[in-house]
Point group: C2
Chain length 114, copies 2
Amino acid sequence: MKSQQLSIKSRIWICTEQGTFLGEGRITLLKEIEKHGSISKAAKAMKMSYKKAWKLVDSMNRQGDQTLVRRKTGGIGGGGSELSETGKKAIELFQEISSKNSTFLNSQIEKMEF
Amino acid sequence: MKSQQLSIKSRIWICTEQGTFLGEGRITLLKEIEKHGSISKAAKAMKMSYKKAWKLVDSMNRQGDQTLVRRKTGGIGGGGSELSETGKKAIELFQEISSKNSTFLNSQIEKMEF
């Protein structure tokens, strides 16, 4: 265990009493929905079934005080989905906490001695 | 997202250039080996095949500067395996870093506001 060669990886999950609320996969899904403006296109980009993507969105929407993903209204060719401010905030917050966590863990691993 | 209800879970993996060196499953395996004095009994306690347990031990031993698990020598009924000081240190270190990480993440989640 040559400490100079050690690195550390981590995953985090933000949970409510109902279970997982935000995790890496869910955040990627939110980002893809933001990018494509559609749950089905986001699912396709992630090689995930529409059913699974829809379930994840539904789970996040039910757990949030506000919905994270909402239906786009009207316009030519209307339909589609978009992120609410809460949805955008969720991405931001998750990334912030992940990044702080990496910094913290790297500082810990540097101190490790065997 | 009522912030008072949010909690955070995490998993960490300590890696070398060869891949995962220590993770939750590997640490549990080390603890079980320490408890049972045998890789096969540890595997059984974890409902893991002996082959898989052996591979994990071998992976840890190859990545450490020193072996983490070594064969017990002699004595009546000899054989069996035990942890080296490095193996014990690995458990201690992993638990310390996991615990510090939880404390850190909990302090972050408390500050979260939506």
